[in-house]
Amino acid sequence: MSDRGDVLFQITDLCKAFGSNLVLDHISTEIRKGEVVVIVGPSGSGKSTFLRSLNLLEMPTSGTICFEGRNITDKKTDINKYRQKIGMVFQHFNLFPHKTILENLTLAPIKLLKKSKEEADREARELLRRVGLEEKESAYPAQLSGGQKQRIAIVRSLAMHPEVMLFDEPTSALDPEMVGEVLQVMSELAREGMTMIIVTHEMGFAREVGTRVLFVDEGVIKEENNPQNFFEHPSNPRLREFLSKIL
């Protein structure tokens, strides 16, 4: 596909079954540094399962995922170390309700990256400023709106300086008026060169910010293309049907 950067993920014949239900069916693709890959597809097609396989929240049934040339599905991989490099943003934010916003951001850097509290606080405040929420640092998650929570969730991941960010429907749980503020943060992140893999139903965002769009259906990548061709010249009939319903 794009020849912009080094290969970050090399995914080969990735399969995931829940019992007898084969959810991912021999998925192979590669993801390069700096790409913004948008994954679309009908409900239940395996988009979340694919994304969650990338940071091993789901253990693949078979196949390999190589990250920077190292097979992370190998038993010898230190999963916790690996996950520090992979940021994940969830549909339902999953902020830590018993911690203040600042503590949400600094917990992992202090405990895992062994940063001093002062350094972690300083970096966290910088990140909060970036998303315009610096005055919320001593608030608790329950005091924030959905859009604010999701922006915090994004910078909580960024505080670990990840090499990739995974987003699983980051705006699907938001009231419509809050979708924009989260997409804007994501667009800025993309502009700064962050490698991102995003499951979303926001087709406008996919078209404008994405560098590549994947159509996942029945556990298979049925089509992948740059956004322009993906939306204007879809070839797979299931994709055409999907787009006609959604656009």
């Binding site: 940071n55 929240l57 916790n80 520090q84 999953n94 902020l95 309700p97 405990k111 895992l112 670990m160």
Partner: protein, 229 residues
């Protein structure tokens, strides 16, 4: 009225009989307090083992031991457990009754605390574990920093209630010769041959303590509900 004064005098004042109640109350509170601590320790341990097995499938043998413990403790009467502890487990040893009683009640309480805590852990949104893990925390780090603090807060009122339940339950420890509040009142009764005063007195002391602790628990619950909002 005069009759009441005379009876009060013979039952509580004469020969310093109120000291039976004072000593007994001291022991009752000591047993309850120590047993609750032991119960909370055991309960959290068992709950973590059980929920770790439920969530990750790890620790099959510890989980089985915990289930056996829960089944036996919750399936047999407290009195029988107390007597077994006293006459079977420590039958040959000269161990203080306070220790025997505390162990028996602590081990018993642990089984009930375990189920309180386990349901507390299970009620935490699974997204919390996923968020912790995806930041790079190990399972035990996530439990320690993220899951257990939330669980503890959620179950604190139920744990305080366990204290109240235990406070009343310890009244059976007189059977193995432990000098607690109930036993204290009973000794007075056996000296004065007047059941009314000492037993009603004992009942009132329990009632006042339970009401006081319940009020505290209520306050605690309201406090927890309003924080972080």
């Amino acid at each position: 009225m005069e009759d009441f004064q005379v009876k009060f005098y013979t039952n509580f004042i004469k020969d310093d009989r109120y000291m039976y109640l004072v000593k007994g109350l001291g022991n009752t509170l000591a047993i309850t307090f120590l047993a609750v601590l032991l119960g909370i320790f055991l309960g959290f341990l068992v709950a973590i083992v059980r929920s770790t097995y439920d969530k990750t499938g790890k620790g099959k043998l510890p989980n089985m031991i915990c289930r056996l413990y829960l089944t036996v403790i919750r399936g047999t009467p407290m009195m029988v457990q107390l007597m077994i502890m006293c006459y079977v487990v420590f039958g040959k040893y000269n161990v203080s009754k306070l220790i025997v009683t505390t162990l028996a009640f602590g081990i018993n309480s642990g089984a009930y605390v375990a189920e309180i805590v386990r349901s507390g852990i299970m009620s935490i949104d699974p997204g919390q574990l996923e968020a912790g893990r995806s930041l790079g925390f190990s399972y035990s780090q996530t439990m320690w920093h993220i899951i257990m603090p939330q669980t503890f807060k959620n179950v604190l009122p139920a744990l305080a209630n366990e204290f109240i339940v235990l406070l009343k339950e310890t009244s059976v420890c007189g059977y193995i010769g432990m000098m607690d509040l109930t036993r204290g009142g009973d000794i007075i009764r056996s000296r004065t041959y007047e059941p009314f005063m000492p037993l009603i007195g004992v009942a009132l002391i329990y009632l006042v303590m339970v009401m006081a602790f319940s009020a505290l628990v209520g306050k605690l619950e309201r406090r927890l509900r309003t924080s972080e909002r």
